[in-house]
Structures are given as structure tokens and as C-alpha cells.
Symmetry: C2
Subunit: 265 residues, 2 copies
Amino acid sequence: MTVKQLSLPELADACGQLGIVNVGLWREPVQSYGLEATAKLVRDAGLTVTTLCRGGFFTAIDADERAAALADNRRAIDEAATLGTDTLVLVSGGLPAGSKDLHGARERVADALAELGPYAEQHGVRLAIEPLHPMYASDRCVVSTLAQALDLAERFPAHQVGVTVDTYHIWWDDNAPAQIARAGASGRIHTFQLADWTTPLPEGVLNGRGQVGDGAIDMREWQHYVEAAGYTGAIEVELFNDALWARDGREVLAETARRFVENTD
Amino acid sequence: MTVKQLSLPELADACGQLGIVNVGLWREPVQSYGLEATAKLVRDAGLTVTTLCRGGFFTAIDADERAAALADNRRAIDEAATLGTDTLVLVSGGLPAGSKDLHGARERVADALAELGPYAEQHGVRLAIEPLHPMYASDRCVVSTLAQALDLAERFPAHQVGVTVDTYHIWWDDNAPAQIARAGASGRIHTFQLADWTTPLPEGVLNGRGQVGDGAIDMREWQHYVEAAGYTGAIEVELFNDALWARDGREVLAETARRFVENTD
């Protein structure tokens, strides 16, 4: 998603040029290019798919909408398995129109996890609840902190449900380091993502994630928390940024790789 | 601030028409109209000033900037005392340019409170730390949760330092109800403010606070938490909203009064 201006073959080629061997993918470009074709492309390019983004959107009250969301998440699990990744990132969904019931919405997320966890396990896929920044609580994700994500995840086995740790969403939270330790202790850090916090935020606050090193977040500090908690997996850089998307994708990918090296150990 | 398009005399007159007897004021319009003149205006109109907004901006590292901030806050305390309110709302300030040290910035807030608390007490004014929504953590307020605000406030006597509870900033936080109880138990809820959460957020995320009843927040739920914690003070409505500011101020004030009645007990 960081370089969504690149087609998947361009992305694979650019990764090869830069010596990048891991890639996180999003469902939409995979579906457009074709699931089996993408699986073959990354296999032939020697790329490992670290995670698939994203399932989720579990908060509907309407029965048909709920059933459709669960069916779509089963497809996402199938896609993850076909791509060879063991991790599906979940964005929980926001409040249904007109609802003010955050607690109820969070419980519906738990209900969905109970249905999907065993299916994911059968396919060798772990679900990774991603707490999004509280500014998305109403319209995108009712799970706003790592503590909330772990409260949900811990109702299930760790090989079914864990969390996504993304610096952009948790950097402000002085409780997050303790929650990373909690997540690590039960083997629930299923992926670790970097994006920097830059202001002013754009209208809608969706596409303003800063390039690593451009903002307020000390990436090494968070890397140390995660690694001290036992995490040894890949570190992903996930940027949604209109200014980056407007540039040449290969140049942005190369810049991102440099920034990653400069801002992590 | 909700109806900043009204001059202070217009505001006093409109409050009188609507039977509103309490008003929260901001420093800038008071300074423009004149401090003594404002004090006389509200006194003659039979209005009680509930709070003065705002002091704070304590996070500078530079010694001259810190001294200037403390001097300005002493003036704010003087102004509050002259206006007859016992509460000065504090917005802590963001990260200094180039800094990634949230912890250090929060400690500098504590240092400033230690200097200002006794001065405020001498003037019969309580400082009310306002945690702002985490989306303001870098550029406006490093205190993002009620828990953080109370961790700071509890280093000082409650009659010197407490907190501002504003629905807009804390509604997403499932830990906030317990923190309201904590604040109430030590007599630290110094004011309670309402604004609703509406999306999409505008660029810069400053002037998109929703009219009471327009958004995702259950106002009665938060009123009940605050009152169950022993709060008996005024409830303020504080909206920053470009669309509301563009309308007739008297009409907006009347609408706000109606919405307040409809959405609270």
C-alpha cells in the first residue's frame, strides 16, 4: 500500500532491485491481479508475503451484513493461505450508522472472532487485530488501543488471534509499552508496522501517515519494546500518503528502504 | 468560543434572553474587550463565569520560552480571579519542534504545575489540566488521556490542580469512566465540557467539534459518570466548528441550549 502506484509485477521487480525479500500485501491489488497469479508472482520473485491486509469490519448489527462480513473474512483467510502468509490483519470496523454504542460494537468484534478463529486455524492463518488511532473510533475501528485489542484477543488461543502493533496508532499511548510486553508474553504480536506521525492531518485523516523519520515517533524506541517482548518477525512500513502516492513508486520504495535503515537498528 | 461570532455584550444579552446564567470564557475575547470591562459586563448581566480557557503550553525546552509561558499563565490566573471564576483550563502544549520525547514533555508540564499551583491557590483559582484527544499529541497537547492528566494532577493538592473532562477528547477511551471515578474521589473534576464527535474530520482536525446530538457520543452516559463521581458544577458546551461559526451566533446559541436540554438529564 505504501507504493500502491506500482503494479504487483513492478513491485516485485523493484523489491528485487533493492534486495527486499519480504512484502505485505493488500487484498484489493491482489484480487485485481488475480490471487493465483499473485501467488506465482511472489513465489517466482523469491518474495515472502509477511501479512495480508485486511479483514475485519465486524460491527454491523444487521444479520445479512454480518453474514456477508464473515463470508468475506473467510475469503480473506483463504487468500492469505494461498499467498503463503500466516497473518491476516483485521480492522474491526466503526460504529453502525446512528449507533453510539462502542461497547456493543466491540462485543460484536469478539463474536466474529469466535466464528473466524477456528476457520483461520484450519488454514494456518493467524488473525491480527489492529487497534487504530482513536481518531478512527467512530467510522473505521472501535478498537482504539493495544489494551482493548488484547482484551479481545486473549479470549482466544494465540495461534488464532493476536494483534498488530503499528507505531502510527499507538505512539501517543504511555500504556502501550506495557501492552506490548503483555502481547509478547502470550505470543500475540503477529506483526509490527511502522509509520510516522506528521501534522497537520489531512481532511478525513486517512492519508497523512508520514514517511519514517519525518515525524514525531521514535521508531527505535518502539522497535526495542517489540523486540524486548520477543518479537522476531518482519517489520513492515505501511504508509497511506497522498504526497507519496503522487511520486514515482520506485523512488518512494527506495526512499522508504533508506529511511527504514536510518531509523531502525 | 462556541459562538465566537458574538461580541461579549451580544453574548451577555443573548444569554439573558435564553435564561443562561453561566458562561465559560476564552482569554482572547476578554483581552480584546478589556479584562475589567468584561468583569463588569458579566457582573451587570448576572452571569457567572464558570471557567477561563486557557492557560498551558508548558512544553518548551528553551529557558526564555518557558519563562514567558509561566509569566503568561500567571496573567491568566490573574484574569480568572478578576472574572470571578475559580477554574483556569490548561492545554499542556505539544512536542517542541524536532523533539520525539513525549515523556520529557509531560515532565515539563509537571514542572510548570509545581511553579504555578501555589500562585493559583493564592488567587483562589484551580488549574484544570485538559487531556486532549490523542490526535493532538504532537502539536497541541502531550496529555492525551484522563489517566495521564490525573497522574500529573495527583502530584499536587486537589485545590491547586485537577482535570477538565471533555467528552470530545475521551469518549473513545474505555478506561475513562474509571478515571472519572478516580478524579471525583479526590475532588479533581474541575469542569465538565460537552462536544460531539462527527466525521469526516476537517483538515488540521481543530474545528470539527460536532453540535451536541449530531455525533457518536452518548452525552447522558458521560454526564452520569461525572455526576456519579460527585460532580455538581456547571456543564459547559464547547464547540469549535467552522460551520457553526459561519451562522448567526444567537441562533447557534439557542440551538445549543436546546440540544443541551435534549441530550442531558
